[in-house]
Symmetry: C2
Subunit: 294 residues, 2 copies
């Protein structure tokens, strides 16, 4: 299906794009106006964009309905500071409540039942309940258009971050990813939760290049058993392995015995076996199984 | 724990921020240089930022190691067009392979085993295997600094998107979120996978405001049983409900009988029951259980 965005309504555009570009991390932004009134609002048009200087950006879009702007945006023009609070599974319902469009001057900390905790370098308060809070200076607001639905990039330099002890690793010197249950936004009313059931690691050689899928032997590259992910793992090694005469594997021996009379079936069985080893992240064992037939 | 970013190294800064600001959606960017050489590279400093015009931004950062820039960035200066391919579970290993820093001129489509499919409005090819491809015009490149680790915002207007039939809903008029298994980046080597096991919906009244946690009766607000998420759900209704005389519930009746002599224990049991109803998204039933004690 092909969609030309200039030919559909902004509301349809929003539906397509919010389902497609996901999961989006959530920034719960705390700001303050010149009169000292606090605002708290979540934004999912948000991400990290630079390390030197450390910069995060969120977009406070113009409303599609009536082309008005959000209190958060008005506040950062008055006081160019923001505390970005990271949203996890323990607070998602309260964050959803904070996203209601309460009248100007209503403090969403109170409506959503969050506690204000003074920041150390900026005026807006931090959300005590959030496990990561980032004190930021707004270095620029960049409008992306003037119509309803136009984004306004709020470009923030992170000055200081506060991290709860409960999500640190055993040494206490870094966040332990499995302990932080981020939630993120997708299309419609959908959110996703990050936990050990859906986290996985992909090891990547940072300095050494992978040989690439184009360098795999032809019978492996054209396998009807091995998927793109399987080939990706096989190609992500620094050099084509040699047959290891010391590699002794019972299942491999039994495949050779059992399928000795049918080379086509033997190849299929070996590819299935290699595939199962790849799923267990035993890349070098999978290679030995595949090389046994070359 | 408190971290002042100006006091730590850029590499440490990267560790903290990439674990904290997550999950980050992945853009697999296809670009081309003036000589027609194709480049394909993944970026997780990426998100949607505007609907009118439809704008996505990714950052092609300057390398921390030696302050050089990526081929993607060099290409968009020569040909300001990009195809953004959305990354799902079926292609994550190949995408990891494409992220190796192959020499200039190497086509990562070939190294990572992807197929080039001609785009319709722009010169860079699309990744055939990706279920969503977006043809974009680069409207601006905005540097966020000049040192190694500085981001470069590649601001892209989406012209046309292509969506695989396999991820559409039954009517064929929108993406069905459960059918698209996005993968996203977190800190270190971590990725997460989105599927029905971790997707959940939070209904939000868009036009009507929630009453807020501050409007909840005091014994509910101060409950030792109900969590912030529970209170958030209770506060996210348009008006405080009335007792419904027709609400007849067996378990409620048995709690009233059994704990008649111990009002403190009865309240505890009612809050536990309300909590379980909230977990089943039966907000109005939970309200009736809680109101039975007021």
């Amino acid at each position: 299906m092909q969609i030309t965005l200039s030919e559909i309504s902004p509301a349809q555009c929003q539906q397509w794009l919010q389902h497609a570009i996901a999961p989006r991390p959530i920034c719960l932004a705390s700001t303050i106006n010149a009169a000292g009134q606090v605002n708290l609002s979540p934004f999912s048009f948000f991400n990290l964009f630079s390390m030197v200087p450390p910069i995060v950006i969120f977009s406070a879009s113009r409303r599609m309905r009536d082309n008005t702007t959000k209190h958060t945006l008005e506040n950062v023009f008055e006081v160019p500071e923001v505390v970005i609070n990271i949203v996890d599974d323990d607070m998602v319902q309260q964050v959803s409540l904070a996203s209601c469009e309460f009248p100007k001057g209503v403090n969403e900390f109170i409506k959503a039942g969050f506690s204000e905790e003074p920041a150390t370098l900026v005026k807006p308060p931090m959300v005590k309940e959030s496990k990561i809070k980032m004190e930021c200076r707004v270095i620029e607001v960049k409008p992306l258009g003037t119509k309803g639905g136009a984004g306004n990039l709020v470009i923030c330099e992170i000055l200081r971050m506060h991290v709860a002890d409960s999500i640190l690793n055993e040494r206490g010197d870094m966040i332990e990813q499995q302990k932080l249950h981020h939630v993120a936004r997708l299309g419609g009313h959908w959110y996703c939760r990050v936990d050990t059931s859906n986290l996985f690691e992909v090891e990547k050689p940072n300095t050494q290049l992978g040989i690439g899928i184009d360098a795999l032997p032809e019978n492996i590259r054209n396998s009807t058993i091995l998927s793109g992910n399987d080939l990706g793992q096989l190609g992500n090694i620094h050099e084509l392995p040699m047959v290891d005469p010391a590699f002794d594997d019972e299942r491999l021996r039994s495949i050779f015995q059992y399928y000795a009379i049918d080379p086509k079936e033997m190849e299929k069985e070996l590819h299935l076996y290699a595939k199962s080893l790849l799923q267990q992240h035993k890349t070098m064992d999978a290679w030995q199984v595949l090389l046994s037939l070359q």
